[in-house]
Symmetry: C2
Subunit: 245 residues, 2 copies
Amino acid sequence: MTSPTTSIRIEPLKVACSSCNLRELCLPLGLSQPDLERLDRLVDARRHVARGAALFRAGDGFHSLYAVRTGFFKTCVSAEDGRDQVTGFQMAGELLGMDGISTDRHSCDAVALEDSQVCVIPFAELEDLSREFTDLQRQFHKIMSREIVRDHGVMLLLGSMRAEERLAAFLLNLTQRLQSRGFSPSALVLRMTREEIGSYLGLKLETVSRTFSKFQDDGLLEVKQRHIRITDQDGLRRLVNGPNC
Amino acid sequence: MTSPTTSIRIEPLKVACSSCNLRELCLPLGLSQPDLERLDRLVDARRHVARGAALFRAGDGFHSLYAVRTGFFKTCVSAEDGRDQVTGFQMAGELLGMDGISTDRHSCDAVALEDSQVCVIPFAELEDLSREFTDLQRQFHKIMSREIVRDHGVMLLLGSMRAEERLAAFLLNLTQRLQSRGFSPSALVLRMTREEIGSYLGLKLETVSRTFSKFQDDGLLEVKQRHIRITDQDGLRRLVNGPNC
DNA sequence: CGCTGCGTTGACGCCAATCAACCGATGTGG
DNA sequence: CCACATCGGTTGATTGGCGTCAACGCAGCG
């Protein structure tokens, strides 16, 4: 983190990628200064999404990717019969909308779980720019690939873990991502309901609630509504890695 | 399908993308003739993978993507404690290896389920070429995005469907992909074991076997070892879409 | 103040996992 | 060629984990 005070910029409203404190987590990662400045010009629009509102919905035309600046999102897909499944939770610096590239329509909903702000990245222009700048192209490909790898991890979780392991893995994943954003690794506030956690983990909300209570009884964490304090991170890790040892 | 006999080409061994019968399913989809010829030069190597052998393994360095020419693959990820999860089955025209882009190492194994052949696509050169040709860039992005969308569908399956629905959805997906490759929509030969199907669907092999038997009893299909004949496709569809109507 | 949404907890039931036996197909070496 | 081992698959009996149903508590809010 280089000091932002070395040059004082008079851009209180427009926050550029090049000076964004998320640039090490987001699309700009690894870009050179000239590339960054071009990216700045591409990403000019910002959009506020109120808590509960959708950034996009399945079926909407796809034009842009979105980088979360502030706030918290969930994405979910639904089957014809109404069943739906939360496929992910996104926080600052993470990209939304890549599902839309394949058919030029979004295939899932992205809903803000708190008042949020996103940077709008017009996709056609991103493709143009990434034909000019190898680093940007490379970084974008890495981000898409990372999403695929993440999804495979979720499949492993859904396909082969039991309730306790799923919730432990979920909490560890959340705290790790929060920690890399400068937050405490032990205290967190859940932005989503038990039902949304359950949907993501393939469990019912009652099971999520019971498992939280069990973790509390076992001295792994303290639960007060959505406020969680992890008191035994290693205990959680043991749950995930070696359920039988 | 334009007739391949209009111009007789003397390339019995080297099969070019431009004349490959999979080009409408694979990376070349939608490319113009000049683009196709450049792609031909890029994709020159082929590789045979014997049944049971790995095309790559988790941890291997990433250099290339692979397009399945003939044969059948599974990909699987494993947890530290040895549990593993089949994340997909790939057939002719489908791309393997995109998991490796994010960290320059593969994060899953790709294993041939029968003697197979793949086209090797050096990734650095693919990136170079896709900086020149918009259509190729666009097509590659669509393929990665399609993989993400597919993964979300699997999450929905794993997170919210019961055993019968999972297997029905799996069979319908397989037959649909086989059909788009010119095979019968009703008769298929499974390339994978009950255990591999179970791993993919988050079920134990006994449950897969029992569910096959149940489907047979219900007159939905005929099972003879790995040979399946679907006799009531609509019945399967009803199982997937409206479990309660 | 009652309403509503979210969370917790208990009782019970069911679906799929587990454990186990058995079968057929395939392959192998004496 | 056959005895034997191995692997994949089927089926049955039983168990257990999680879903279902229901009651209740609590916080926020009009």
